[in-house]
């Protein structure tokens, strides 16, 4: 795995007058696992969106450095994967079509074997030709994992990693989290105390809260 570095500095976000957080700073490097916690509405999901580059902060900076070279946020797509309740699949496409689409729009090539392997691992291989609108919420969550892992991202972001999953699904996710931490790097937002055992460092947004 090539060395990389995610650098978050003094990130600030407010909606209208409501300030969610006003100076979030942390670093994530190869081989690390970073967790974000905090009560509902403390801004975990918002922070995850900001560091993935899909939401613009009101201040501060998010930088990705891969191989000592900074990558602009508009080009980090091939290096990151995200599983989030706010990330929806295209309902009119089948599970497998969604995965192909994701890879193509990310600008990377994938092999049929890799797609099928992931679908099998997450137990939705039999449903691969079903349109995503017919998936249950748990199946959708599993498909999101396939989409996030397909390109073997350097950084994997998980917002509520085990949401909507049954015991089997949770077991697979735990395995994925362990692997990702070893192979590359992991950032996740959670309220489950069990998840925190996967983290090297924890940021509690409720405590950080200012004003």
């Amino acid at each position: 795995m090539t060395p990389f570095h995610l650098e978050v500095r003094n990130v600030r976000k407010s909606f209208g007058r409501k300030v969610l957080f006003d100076a979030v700073s942390f670093d994530v490097r190869l081989g690390e696992s970073f967790a974000v916690t905090g009560k509902n509405g403390s801004g975990k999901s918002t922070l995850m969106k900001i560091i993935c580059g899909v939401l613009t902060p009101n201040g501060g900076s998010v930088r990705y450095v891969v191989n000592d070279k900074e990558i602009p946020l508009s080009h980090v797509a091939p290096h990151i994967g995200l599983v989030s309740p706010y990330l929806n699949m295209y309902e009119e496409f089948t599970g497998e079509e969604n995965l192909r689409l994701f890879a193509k729009i990310r600008g990377i090539g994938v092999r049929q074997d890799d797609i099928h392997g992931l679908l099998q691992r997450f137990g939705i291989f039999e449903h691969r030709n079903k349109e995503a609108r017919f998936y249950s919420s748990g199946m959708k969550q599993r498909l999101k994992y396939c989409a996030a892992l397909l390109h073997r991202p350097a950084l994997l972001f998980l917002d509520e990693p085990t949401a909507n999953l049954d015991d089997i699904g949770i077991a697979v996710v735990r395995e994925v989290m362990r692997e990702q931490r070893q192979r590359a790097a992991l950032v996740f937002a959670t309220n489950e105390s069990e998840d925190l055992s996967f983290a090297d460092r924890v940021l509690d947004l409720s405590r950080l809260k200012i004003g």
Binding site: K49, C52, G53, V54, L55, T56, S74, H75, A77, I80, L82, S84, Y86, L87, N88, M89, Y90, E91, E92, F93, E97, L101, F102, K104, I105, R106, G107, I108, G109
Partner: protein, 222 residues
């Protein structure tokens, strides 16, 4: 083996349209209704060709508005805009969506133009080269303007109604030029006589696309 990303976005739009028929259904219904209304309101009256040329563009304008406004609204409504933002840059999304709108609008305008000439006997085009050049250049201009407007409107709360209202002043110079060139095509003018109008149409599109690429980045990213 990896093709350009804007093209992948374009392919996704086409595939999605074939599954959902979001835009096609709206378009087709609008085209059929407006054409029927035009035919009934004309009745047996002889109408000057200037008016007929104007009416052709009214049909094209409103049909385009009804279909093209959907491109970004569907992403917002279904919560897939975050997905697209995650997967690629704003510029790639813009180009892909714009290309899709160009294809959609050209198909629609060509269909309308054929139907219009077929249904309305008094509308006789004597210079086909001027006529079709106008349709193509006008269509590209319409697509350029409506792509960026659709992106802006998708973020607003009053999505549907706002679109034609915002689009009209922006598109007025384009429409007036198209109508003038269409009149020339009926009069059987030489191609060179319409050249000035074509220059205006091309400039409109170039300016619109250039401005859109810059503006879109801010509209698209929350």
């Amino acid at each position: 083996m990896v093709t350009p990303i804007p093209y992948q976005v374009f392919v996704k739009e086409v595939a999605s349209e074939f599954r959902t028929r979001y835009a096609l259904n709206a378009l087709l219904m609008f085209v059929v209704t407006t054409l029927t209304m035009v035919v009934f309101s004309l009745g047996d009256n002889t109408v000057p060709y200037e008016i007929l040329s104007g009416m052709l563009w009214i049909v094209i304008f409103f049909s385009a508005m009804s279909g093209l406004s959907r491109t970004f609204v569907t992403e917002e409504e279904r919560g897939t805009s975050l997905t697209l933002r995650l997967l690629t840059s704003a510029t790639n999304v813009y180009i892909g969506k714009f290309l899709y709108n160009v294809v959609l609008i050209l198909a629609m305008s060509v269909f309308i133009a054929f139907a219009y000439r077929l249904i309305i006997d008094d509308f006789v085009v004597r210079s086909s080269s001027i006529f079709w050049t106008t349709i193509v250049l006008g269509g590209i201009g319409l697509a350029a303007a409506s792509t960026i407007l659709a992106a802006i409107i998708a973020k607003a709360n009053t999505k549907g109604t706002l679109f034609p209202v915002l689009a009209f002043p922006v598109l007025l110079p384009l429409l007036l030029t198209c109508i003038r060139a269409t009149v020339l095509s009926v009069e059987g003018a030489f191609f060179s006589e319409a050249f000035k109008d074509f220059q205006i149409l091309v400039s409109f599109s170039v300016v619109m696309i250039a401005a859109s690429v810059i503006v879109f980045e801010y509209v698209w990213n929350d």
